[in-house]
């Protein structure tokens, strides 16, 4: 049987309408909890939710929701690859930041022109992310170091190396902001004016995020490697006796997870700020963990989760107009993740029993009572 951890990390599938019902219930439950907290602090919950919805429905906010959601989504994909086989890559955060620093330095140097520079920047980011994650993989495989510990430590090291690189090699002082040299305009990825009523453009990286989501699905569900990865995640002992080398799988999965992490900083670097400086977003790797849990590592679930998360983050400012602390949104996000995990667990238990019932019923029907020994005919 699967452990609770397996189910929490979505290595066990949920079928049919239950897969939809569980997260919906969880969101409703989170709204109830948030209402209670709002009431306790003397605020009107409906007013707050209404303000969030109103603000979120504005074209301008919709664009920022999609753009932030794109980054969240890629981060969730990077985390989910590890989750699918029992690897906790907590280091996605460090991997994408270090990848972005190095890629920003290379891109700023404008070694190649135009589109080639875009490709170069992305390739460098992916390679750096993969290599940085490989360190944790190698430590786990050769020395048995838990990747949870090593990736958390590597996050700090990545921060240090990033600052050092910017300060000593890539940095250019503009005003009082120290950042990498801006990537030339011919290597900027254009946005798309998808949503009318605002000057803001949807990041071109939305397309990349969709491609990555599809690639994630195909890799896991349609390839031999994906099968081996899922098998190892579900039962390492069964994988071992089936000729799958757990060590090889750990290292490869860490590398792929890190490579995916390399993409996270690209929308910001190539589509928005064009440089890595003190304003570069941090913490996306941790948001990815929450969204991977929320979306149960499924490509569509994580997309919805990323948009929901992004909506809450982007709309929270409006609450301050109602004199409500914007941190109420953080409470809501936390409760959503917790209640989603609980809801999935309940649904899972229900599903297992239901399937066993169904199997015994279907077997009993045409073949007589043979399969339901001992039960009354």
């Amino acid at each position: 049987m699967s452990s609770f951890l397996d189910r929490m990390l979505g290595r066990v599938k949920l079928g049919g309408w239950l897969a939809v019902a569980a997260p919906l219930l969880a969101v409703v439950f989170a709204a109830v909890i948030t209402s209670v907290i709002l009431l306790a602090t003397g605020k009107a919950p409906l007013e707050a939710f209404n303000a969030l919805a109103q603000y979120g429905a504005q074209p301008r906010t919709m664009v920022t929701i999609i753009n932030t959601g794109t980054e969240y989504y890629i981060s969730a994909l990077a985390v989910a690859i590890g989750f699918r086989m029992n690897l906790f890559n907590i280091g996605v955060d460090g991997q994408y930041r270090l990848a972005a620093v190095v890629a920003a330095g290379v891109g700023g140097a404008a070694l190649v022109p135009g589109v080639l520079n875009i490709v170069l920047v992305i390739v460098v980011a992916v390679i750096v992310g993969a290599l940085w994650a490989a360190i944790a993989g190698l430590l786990r495989v050769t020395r048995g170091v838990s990747e949870v510990i090593s990736t958390i430590m590597l996050n700090s090291i990545a921060t240090g190396i990033g600052s050092w690189l910017v300060k000593n090699y890539f940095g250019v002082l503009t005003g009082n902001e120290l950042a990498t040299k801006e990537i030339p305009a011919d290597a900027h990825v254009p946005g798309m004016a998808l949503i009318p009523g605002t000057q803001l453009q949807v990041s071109g990286f939305v397309v990349l995020a969709i491609v990555l989501g599809v690639a994630y699905y195909v890799l896991l569900n349609r390839t031999r490697f994906g099968f081996e990865l899922r098998a190892t995640g579900k039962s390492e002992s069964a994988a071992l006796s089936s000729g799958i080398s757990p060590k090889k799988m750990i290292l490869t999965t860490m590398i792929i997870s890190g490579a995916m992490a390399g993409f996270i900083g690209m929308p910001e670097l190539l589509g928005s700020s064009y440089k890595y400086g003190t304003n570069f977003p941090t913490g996306l790797g941790f948001t990815g963990i929450a969204i991977a849990l929320l979306g149960r590592n499924t490509p569509v679930g994580m997309a919805i989760g990323a948009l929901l998360w992004s909506f809450l983050d982007n709309s929270s400012d409006t609450l301050q107009l109602l004199d409500i602390s914007k941190e109420i949104v953080a409470i809501m996000q936390g409760v959503i993740v917790l209640s989603v995990i609980i809801a999935y667990e309940l649904v899972h238990r229900y599903r297992i029993v239901a399937e066993q019932r169904r199997v015994s019923r279907e077997l009993a029907a045409p073949k007589g009572p043979q399969q339901v020994e001992g039960a009354p005919a």
């Binding site: 049987m1 699967s2 397996d6 066990v12 599938k13 569900n221 349609r222 390839t223 031999r224 490697f225 994906g226 099968f227 081996e228 899922r230 098998a231 579900k234 039962s235 002992s237 069964a238 071992l240 006796s241 089936s242 000729g243 799958i244 080398s245 297992i352 029993v353 399937e355 066993q356 019932r357 169904r358 199997v359 015994s360 019923r361 279907e362 077997l363 073949k367 399969q371 339901v372 020994e373 001992g374 039960a375 009354p376």
Partner: protein, 537 residues
Amino acid sequence: MGNATGPLVYCHNRCPPSGTPRSKEAAITTATANEPAVELAGITKRFPGVVANKDIDLKVAKGRIHAIVGENGAGKSTLMKILYGMQRPDEGVIKVDGSPVTFGTPGDAIAHGIGMVHQHFMLADNLTVLENIVLGSEPRKGGVALDFRAARKKIKEISDTYGLGIEPDMLVEELGVGDRQRVEILKVLYRGARILILDEPTAVLVPHEVDELFDNLRGLVREGLTILFISHKLDEVLQVADAITVIRRGTTVAAVDPKEVTARRLAELMVGSELPSPETRESTVTDVVALAVRDLRMGASGRSVVDGVGFDIRKGEVLGIAGVEGNGQAELVEAIMGMRPISSGSITLNGRDITHWSTLKRREAGIGYIPEDRHRHGLLLESPLWENRILGHQTRKPNVRGIWIDRAGARRDTQRIVENYDVRTPGIEVDAAALSGGNQQKLIVGREMSGDPVLLIASHPTRGVDVGAQAAIWDHLRTARAAGLAVLLISADLDELIGLSDSLKVILRGKIVADIDPTSVTPEQLGSAMTGAGEGA
């Protein structure tokens, strides 16, 4: 002996309570012994998809060892869980000492003096015997302090009364298996149990420990305790029990007197028909060696788990390895599968040295593997059957095309296995976990037989499966053997070993200690060889 129907009482619907004395010897017991310690009437428990209990009737006389026998999956465990308060019956009455009781939790059962000694020990190695025993019911002194002195005294008393010989201050990790079991028993007695349920207590013991256990049990009943002894090892049951109840397909089918029944007859009662015979007819052994193992050693020198093992298996030959569990069989199998490093020796498959090959390469070269623990090593329980078909064959047709999983091919071939191997399932999209043990095992056998294996390693292939599936699996093994498959068979079922094997080797402490001719050996002789009595044979 005063019983017109002979030694056995058959009953189709309801059984007379088995504790009722039928022999003269039983009849002379005192009145208190006649009052049942435990009485179950009409116990029914329904579960989806698994064997439950139906109309269980059981009377256990006070101060007796009452054995409950039945096949794996016959419903013994469910019954015991009901009696121990872990499951609630849907219908029926439980009476303890004559008064009806309902148990919601094991705590309720203990309060009524019913204690359970589990098959797998639940002891913390790094605590002392005393600490383990008081864990969960610590004696208090002045509200907070633990009163170890009182506990030690009580443990000593119990140990002396029943002759258990337990030293309260030993660390559990220093104790042997038999001692640990006595600690488990003492733990239950400490909580005030007067009725002990022992679930397969001999499964983990070697023969002389079994004898010690039986001496202890006799000591316990002499002091007035009642013991419910769950087992499927019939010889042991006949040796120790005062009364036997047979469970088949979830219901009590016979109450027998151990003095008047043979092990074979008891087995037939358990199975409900003539025993299916594992016997193979004519020899199909060729002179082509499929697997050659030479001087295999595993583990550090001095503490070898496998020590200089060597054998050949020819095409069409079943080589059986007999041995008490834990004598190196599991390690040997994992060495041949390439799952565990070896210290020295060589393994040759079809003339090719595979000693340094990976598990995958060995599988691709034609080794099929029915693992001992199908849940841990054989299946992805929460994946559909067709994904389980791919497992272990994830590099081969019809499951893959290049780097891609061939879903259609895998599904088609899963359907073939389901049909040819009679896997009872509503479809190939259900999770493996939804199938019964026997059907899971048939799926594994079907999978491992596909792709033309050269060698099949069958580790306890029929453990925990029902008789129907067992007969089917034996059939498949025989057919494959006739088609030239070499089979390495590891089993704890001596009849299975003797019946299926063309040659038999006995493993003891990692060494092959005897070669035995399966055509002339009896299970009793084989059993004694396994404990070392046959050394030098």
